[in-house]
């Protein structure tokens, strides 16, 4: 496989069919999302039709098909977060950013995602801002975090 930055993926995998998901994960890690050109390259390399690759990729929640924002906001809506008010936090984030889950703001600064569970249920509700998980969130705390980062 050859194409700029992602050609390195080809060196770490044997090119088996079973490597498809790890390859897609690595491609997304490198490029932020799955570009159509990348999927075409992977298709030729692993000898799996693009159609099938899209079938697999769209099945899993992890894969994105649009460029992500500079900052990633993941609002957890696991059961513990739900009973402790996670829904309200998502509503507030949506309202403040003017986007829905799965979307990126027009200025490319933030993307918003709702996730099923981050595994920090004892400190619910939680929100992941980039790699950092914020615990015991409230609608006021999420407003504070968003306002603080707006000028970044």
């Amino acid at each position: 496989m050859s194409n700029g930055g992602i050609c390195a993926i080809g060196e770490d995998f044997k090119g088996d069919r079973g490597d498809l998901i790890p390859v897609l994960q690595r491609a997304q890690d490198l490029e932020g999302y799955l570009r159509p050109e990348t999927i075409r390259l992977i298709s030729r390399w692993l000898k799996i039709s693009e159609n099938e690759i899209y079938g697999v990729a769209t099945f899993y929640a992890q894969f994105r098909f649009h460029p992500p924002g500079k900052h990633h906001i993941k609002v957890c809506l696991g059961t513990a977060c739900h009973v402790r008010g996670g829904e309200q936090i998502l509503i507030t984030a949506k309202e403040r950013l003017g986007i829905g889950p799965g979307e990126t703001t027009a200025d490319g600064k933030f993307d918003l995602e709702r996730v099923a569970c981050l595994g920090c249920c004892a400190l619910a509700p939680v929100v992941a801002f980039d790699k950092k998980i914020h615990s015991q969130m409230s609608v006021l705390k999420i407003q504070g975090i968003l306002d603080e980062r707006k000028s970044d």
Binding site: A61, Q62, H82, V115, C121, A122, H134, L140
Partner: protein, 623 residues
């Protein structure tokens, strides 16, 4: 590395472990599991480092996993030379210097933030950590090392008898190991509770040139984090369990299938696998024997259904994670068509203890049919949240009240088993937690999520929540699951919006039964459980929504209104500033107006009024 070489390493490990206590410099342990980090452990550690540097004090800082009481995070333990380790709770970056100053400089144990000590003997005025109400009723078998050892240091694990269970296993024929596991009575900890030995026997007895072992760490159940904590806190326990399982079933290749949402756990596993390789615990001729085995990590890509065995296998093969018909069961025909055992992380993590201490010891915990201990994530509206391990057969009441410290508002329900489980009402509080009793009540034990709900939680809304979860996660293969769950969500939405009819409740029950009987896998056949049990035990709450158009918990958005009480509002304008839609207006020092047509019921004004405004209770939510 031969068996002799690992013995030599044990000596070195024991000395290293002992040095933590006898070292002339203090050791500081920071609870840095995902929950600790979320609570601010990183900031606490930075403050500790800064303090030590400023004061010129030499100390060792060790990051440990989660010890269980997550509500007390960030936890920080300090071990002074020759003294018992002392634990402090909710230590923020601001609190750390004061605690260090008192113990490291003045030699006094500050009562502030004190949680307890880990010593054997009584310490004047300092309680034992494990005597805390949350910890006292617990029995720590699989969690024995979590929060105590450095999960990135295999020597700590070795010093605490790590890999002794596997060494014992290597000295026995596989049939004996199978018999030990059988006598221990352990059943699958992923939820279904199938006897572990039986599954193994089927796999071993199937003729094949290759067998696989998979550790299922795809903990997709929202509200459960037992596997994450175990791997983060003691990764070698799970990996040692994999060696034992692989030896018994004759597998040569193993996989850990773990959620990508658990980056710290993945990092710990990778590190631990490298250490195993260094010790000769992976590869050919492990510890000089004829047994060869290797382990790879497979990161899940976010699909709840992949917790189902056949879907998980499809995912490892690079396909859509859709379940297939069984039989053939994976133990006979699994990954790449070869006999495959998929065991839950906790099951595997328990095995070294069973091998080391004997099956009778393990079977001594629990009940006649549900033996041993089980970890639970105790979360929701309960005072003391966290990860617990209890003997099976313990009553729900003991877990929620003695361990969890009860609820904030009056208790309403406890949900066990996640999206496949059920909501149990107060009358079930004296039900023993075991496979049979929970199933009889309509819930399941599941992987161990226990979500407590109080008077503020709406049961209809929770049923809708679970139903929408399974509807989104349905793989789409079976019509009853794909279409039926969608219809159930729609009906529940109607009920939550106050647009439902009494006939809707019967429809829910009928649809639920159809989905249960017409779905291929456990996701579909258990998906209606939360809704059906809620309907069975909390019917009156559904009827309030339908008949009176009222939500008794004041939670369903379309059935509540936000109102400002003019007599109480001081006009401080704080709510005006936080309202994201500009629904609140009014000049300073005069009661404000709330425009219901603009209000999105996000609770911002309610919270700021309660926590930050002069009036405190001028905004009410009513149904």
């Amino acid at each position: 590395m031969s068996e002799k070489a690992i013995d030599a390493r044990r000596g070195q490990a024991a000395a290293k472990w002992e040095s933590l206590r006898n070292n002339p410099i203090p050791s500081i342990f920071i609870g840095a599991g995902s929950c600790g980090l979320a609570a601010g452990a990183e900031e606490t550690q930075a403050a500790v480092e800064e303090y030590l540097k400023a004061k010129g004090i030499e100390a060792r800082i060790i990051q440990v996993g989660c010890i269980g009481p997550c509500y007390l995070e960030p936890l920080m333990d300090i071990q002074m030379p020759g003294k018992p380790r002392i634990s402090y709770s909710t230590v923020t970056a601001k609190d750390a210097p004061g605690i260090l100053e008192s113990l490291l400089v003045r030699g006094e144990v500050s009562k502030h933030h004190l949680a307890g000590h880990f010593g054997e003997a009584d310490l004047d005025g300092i309680p034992r950590f494990f005597d805390m109400p949350m910890l006292k009723p617990q029995v720590r078998v699989v969690l024995r090392n979590c929060g105590l050892i450095d999960p990135d240091d295999v020597d700590h694990y070795l010093a605490r008898d790590g890999y002794r269970g596997f060494e014992k296993c290597l000295s026995l024929p596989w049939t004996d190991v199978l018999d030990i596991v059988k006598r221990s009575g352990i059943r699958g900890r992923g939820g279904a509770g199938f006897p572990t030995w039986k599954k193994w026997a089927i796999c071993r007895e199937t003729q094949s040139d290759q067998r696989y072992l998979i550790c299922n760490a795809d903990e997709g159940d929202p509200g459960a984090f037992m596997n994450r904590s175990l791997i983060e806190g003691d990764p070698h326990a799970v990996l040692e369990g994999m060696l034992i399982a692989a030896y018994t079933i004759g597998a040569t290749q193993g996989y850990v299938y773990i959620r990508a949402e658990y980056p710290l756990a993945i990092q710990r596993l990778k590190n631990a696998l490298g250490q195993m390789r260094g010790l000769g615990l992976l590869g050919d001729h492990i510890l000089g024997s004829d047994f060869g085995f290797d382990i790879k990590i497979k990161e899940g890509a976010g699909a709840f259904v992949c917790g189902e065995e056949t879907a998980l296998i499809a995912s490892i093969e690079g396909k859509r994670g859709m379940p297939r018909t069984r039989p053939p069961f994976p133990a006979v025909q699994g990954l790449r068509g070869k006999p495959t055992i998929i065991n839950n992380t906790e099951t595997l993590g328990t095995l070294p203890n069973i091998l080391r201490n004997g099956p009778e010891w393990y079977a001594g915990f629990g009940t006649e049919t549900s033996k041993g201990t089980k970890t639970f994530s105790l979360v929701g509206k309960v005072r003391r949240t966290g990860l617990i391990e209890v003997p099976l057969g313990i009553k729900l009441r003991e877990v929620i009240y003695d361990i969890g410290g009860g609820t904030f508002k009056p208790f309403k329900a406890v949900q066990s088993g996640g999206p496949s489980g059920g909501c149990l009402s107060e009358e079930f509080l004296d039900t023993p937690i075991d496979y049979e009793h929970l199933a009889e009540a309509g819930a399941i034990m599941g992987s161990g999520g226990l979500i407590v709900m109080d008077a503020d939680t709406c049961i209809v809304d929770t049923a809708k929540y679970f139903m929408s979860f399974t509807q989104k996660e349905s793989c789409g293969k079976c019509v009853p699951c794909r279409v039926g769950t969608r219809h159930m969500v729609e009906i529940l939405e109607r009920v939550c919006n106050g647009q439902g009819a009494l006939s809707d409740l019967d429809k829910l029950e009928k649809l639920g039964q159809t989905i249960k009987s017409g779905s291929l896998c456990q996701l579909g056949s258990t998906a209606p459980n939360p809704a059906l049990t809620s309907l069975k035990y909390f019917r009156s709450e559904f009827i309030s929504h339908v008949k009176d158009r009222r939500c008794p918990a004041v939670a369903c958005k379309n059935l509540v209104v936000y109102r400002i009480i003019p007599g109480k509002c001081t006009g401080c304008q704080r709510c005006v500033r936080v309202c994201p839609t500009g629904a609140i207006s009014g000049p300073r020092s005069e009661p404000h107006n709330l425009d219901a047509s603009k209000c999105i019921k996000c609770r911002s004004c309610y919270e700021i009024c309660r926590f930050d405004a002069i009036a405190g209770d001028a905004i009410v939510i009513e149904s």
